[in-house]
Symmetry: C2
Subunit: 338 residues, 2 copies
């Protein structure tokens, strides 16, 4: 019987791009669930861009992870022991288990996962936080209308790949920006985007974007920021809406960048730029999941997963994701279901 819990902790606050030495694996005693709590064994861990912000000392939109504490993160797992009437041993559930093999946490902080609509991993992707982020960020923040041009950056990632597909379902023209030809081929081929450009192989973003968006840009869903977003901003149409979902190009800078001032352009175009977190839409998650599951079942949404093997490889998988090595949702397989 297992009595030790492997945990990956934050060993050092990174400067710039995180290194594997910023993490440390330790072994702790297996946690015991208290009254109303559940012991969950992790099966799949999600690594996501937002975690980079939690490694910094400064408060972002949530408290930093303390030095020596277990890294935060959502995972899907199986219930090993329950002290809550809401959950029984053997149930699958998703929650903020952290980067570890086992977690004890209140049953109310878990969402049970029914494996029927898709594999368990979808609870961390298309039918989880990334799916809801794409759904509400595009539909509620940007309100895309049929015939409009929607541009998404980070377009082959967990969120971006869904944004373009939802835009297509809405009758929009979907253009993706991604790093590498294979990602561009994936989104225009398998996912049905109308166009894509590989920013790593493009010298003149403005010219390329103008060619792909002859009618300008009505909606921009931004996951990356920096010079890519500058080019999109220059092409905004009157009444454009920008959802700021992520700024992955900026998270690992040692010094903040400067760039063009955009307020005059926002004024000239009567544009709206809005930052959002998926948690703002918590009251409507059920609606979002229902519609995403239906589209998935109808074959209107597709996804890919990039699955690293073993909790010990979570730091490398996380760093690879920050560097754009993944296509689709980056996961780490931490255990076997049975």
């Amino acid at each position: 019987m297992v009595t030790l819990n492997r945990q990956i902790t934050l060993a050092a606050r990174p400067t710039g791009m995180p290194k594997e030495s910023d993490f440390r694996m330790i072994e702790s005693p297996l946690p015991s669930p208290g009254e109303g709590e559940v012991l969950v064994r992790s099966l799949y861990l999600s690594v996501d861009p937002y975690m980079r912000g939690r490694m910094n000392e400064a408060r972002g939109y949530a408290d930093p992870v303390a030095l020596g504490a277990v890294m935060v993160g959502a995972a899907v797992g199986v219930v090993e022991e329950s002290r809550s009437p809401a959950v029984v041993k053997g149930d699958f559930a998703v929650g903020m288990l952290g980067w570890q093999d086992y977690a004890a946490l209140p049953a109310k902080d878990l969402r049970k996962v029914n494996p029927a609509p898709g594999p368990l991993t979808t609870a961390l992707g298309i039918l989880g936080m990334p799916g809801l982020t794409a759904y509400f960020g595009l539909l509620d923040i940007c309100g895309p209308k049929a015939g409009e041009t929607v541009v998404v950056s980070g377009a082959a990632g967990a969120v971006g790949s869904l944004v373009g597909q939802i835009a297509k379902i809405q009758g929009c023209r979907a253009i993706g920006i991604a790093g590498g030809q294979s990602k561009c081929d994936y989104i225009t081929g398998e996912l049905g985007f109308d166009g894509a450009f590989d920013y790593k192989a493009t010298a003149d973003y403005d010219a390329k974007l103008k060619q792909l968006c002859p009618n300008g840009v009505d909606v921009y869903f931004d996951n990356v920021g920096g010079a890519i977003s500058d080019a999109v901003f220059r092409l905004m149409n009157t009444g454009a809406r920008v959802a700021v979902c992520g700024q992955i190009s900026q998270y690992n800078l040692e010094k903040p960048e400067t760039g063009p001032r955009w307020l005059t352009q926002i004024l000239m175009r009567q544009a709206k730029v809005e930052g959002f977190l998926v948690m703002q839409f918590a009251a409507k998650y059920a609606e979002g999941l229902r519609r995403m599951a239906a589209w998935l079942k109808e074959g209107k949404l597709k996804y890919r997963e990039d699955i690293a093997a073993g909790l010990e490889n979570a730091p490398a998988a996380f760093i690879g994701m920050l560097q754009g090595r993944n296509t689709g949702k980056q996961l780490v397989k931490t255990g076997e279901a049975a």
Copy 2:
């Protein structure tokens, strides 16, 4: 009888701050109103920041003024001759008469002015475009709630001075940023703002703003842009709303400025930044004017006017306004009512 019409035309496209030599006064034959048109004699001309954009060759949110053409602008005047049943000789009206003594234009493009709620000049200020800009920009774009902190830049100008007062009517804390101690004294004294700072005499905008806004900034109504807006952005609260109304600090730059990148901050704060033009709210102008007139009558809104004498002095008044020499609405008196 007058047979010549004095007109101020655009003689040259300015580089940086406009000079008086960029304008030229000419004399043309008096225009004749066609069927459905009206001949109006100008009494007061409004000079506004947006006119700077119209002097450029590049299209902003409207077409540029052609070289040699009469400068655009709203004015209030008296009807001298009418070929429309909607208007009679002697009526007062406001419309886009341009920088000239006389204009012939369709009656439907004029709004009749009833001098009863205030002097004729209010049709160009508090009960005109600047008043509506403040009203809809603050209330509709920003949705300020009682107890929130509202910061306005260009706070002693035609629009900014009203924004702070409307914020106070809504139960908000109103902080103004203006250039010069006398403007700051005016807005905190006569207009009842809760605080103000003179950016010309302040070295550390951040420290000063933090002192004036101990609870951060919930709403920012921006007329100026540049380093002043940077300081406000750094102090944004979660859920902050920014209305971009003007960017006067940027209009006369010979080269576009760079500045801090703001998208990460907008994301962290789940903030919304929206550019707007008052014309977006045309369907609700009557409501806005009714409420502004009521507040004016109740003594809840105050205003100042800075009136230059003579059409020939319009260029100097316009340049002075761009340099911030005015307090309140800058007008040019172009004729006598009787």
